[in-house]
Amino acid sequence: MDEALIKDHKPAWKGGDLPYKASYGKLMMWFFLITDTLTFSAFLASYGFSRFKYQDSWPVPEDVFTHFPFLHGDHPLLFVALMTFILIMSSVTMVLAVNYGHKMQKNKVILWLVLTIIGGSMFLGSQAWEWGHFIHGDKGAVVTNGSSSYKINDSLFVNSNLAHVFKDGKIYSIDNLSEGNHHDSSHSDDIDFDNFISIFASQKDLDLRLSDKTILDHDLAVEYLKERGLRTTKGADLYENEYGHTLFGDYFFFITGFHGFHVFSGVVLLIILLVNVIKDTYAKRGHYEMVEKIGLYWHFVDLVWVFVFTFFYLV
C-alpha cells in the first residue's frame, strides 16, 4: 500500500483507516467487477440453458467458426485462438505498465500502455472480422417446415427446421447449387428453390444433414427437400442463421457484443489514461494508481474472454 494514498492520517472513525489496505478507488473497481462478473455469469448461464434445452438443433462450433484471414479452407479454432493470444498479450503489457507505474517510470508506462492500446484495438478489429463472417455467412442452409417429428420410410427423424447440404462428410456450400453461382447469392431470395432441388437431385453424391446431425442419404434427402424444404438461407441475423438454432446467433451477437463493448470501453479508458500519463497528471499526484485501477478493468475483460472462448468455441 502506497503511503501517498493516505493523504492525511485521520483517526479510524473519521475514515483514516484502511481495513482492506486498499484505496477507495481500487475497492470500488473491485466491487464493480464483482457485479460485472455476476452479469456475465448470468449471460453464459442462460446460454447454457438454451444450449441444453435445444441441444438437438444447436450447431457444432467447429462448423461455424472456420475461417482465417488470407487462408482458404477450414481452420476451426485457429482464429479465436489468435484473438485469445492477442488479448492475453495485451494483459501482459498492461501488467508491465502497472509495474513500471509503481516504479514511477513514466516513459516505460507510456510504452507499455501504447502497446496495450494496440493489442486492444487488434482484438476489436479481429472481432469485427469475425462478426462480418458470421453475418455474411459461409455455406448456407435449407430452411425446412414443421415443428413435429417427421417420418420417411418408417424411420423417425426429428424435425429441425434447418438442414445442411452434406458432401463427403462436410457441409457443402449451397452456392454450388444455384444457377449462375458467380453472383453474390448472400440473399436467400436470389436462389430459386425448385431449381435448387432439381440441381440437388441431379448430383448423386449430395446428402442432407438435419440439424440434429442425422444424415439423410441422397434419395431420402431429395424426398425430404421436396416435402419439407421451404427456401435456402445464408448468413445470420437476429431472426435466423444458417448455423443452427436462432438463439445461437442471438447469444453470439449479445454476449460477444457485450464483451466487445467492454473491450471498446477499456480502449477508450486506456487512451484517456495515456493522455494523463503524458501530461504528468499522475507524476504530480505522486502515484500511478489510476494505471492499476484501469489495469484491473482490463484484466477483467481478458478474464471474461477466457470464459467466452471456452463456452462459445471449445465446449
Binding site: D2, W30, S41, A45, K53, Y54, P76, S91, V95
Partner: protein, 106 residues
C-alpha cells in the same frame, strides 16, 4: 509493494503458463481424443470437463497474479471471491438443470 523488488520475470512466467494452457486447449479441440469425447460424465463429454478445469486454472492465474488479488489482504481477497464462488455455481446448478429438464419436456 512486493513486486517492486521482484522485477518482471513473474509476469512472463504467468504469460507462458496462460499461453501454454490456451495452446493445449486449442490442440485438444482440434485433435479431439476419442477417449475424452466418448466418455460422458455429468451430462457432458469428459473433454468439456477438461476445458472447464483448464479455463478455471487460467482464470485463477489472471485474478490472483495479473489482478494481484493473491497478494492483497486476506479479507479483501475473500470479499471479492466469495460472492462469485457461491452465487455462480448456484446459478449454474439451477439454470442448467432446468435446461436439461425443459429439454426432456419438449
Amino acid at each position: 509493494m512486493a513486486n517492486e523488488t521482484k522485477g518482471n520475470w513473474w509476469i512472463w512466467k504467468v504469460f507462458w503458463i496462460l499461453l501454454f494452457i490456451t495452446a493445449f486447449e486449442v490442440a485438444l479441440g482440434m485433435i479431439k481424443p476419442p477417449f475424452l469425447v466418448d466418455t460422458i460424465f455429468l451430462g457432458t463429454k469428459l473433454l468439456n470437463h477438461v476445458f472447464i478445469i483448464l479455463t478455471i486454472i487460467k482464470a485463477a492465474y489472471i485474478i490472483l497474479e495479473f489482478m494481484h488479488l493473491g497478494h492483497e489482504k486476506k479479507s479483501l481477497k475473500w470479499t471479492v471471491l466469495l460472492p462469485a464462488m457461491v452465487l455462480v455455481p448456484y446459478l449454474l446448478f439451477i439454470i442448467l438443470s432446468e435446461g436439461v429438464h425443459s429439454y426432456l419436456m419438449i
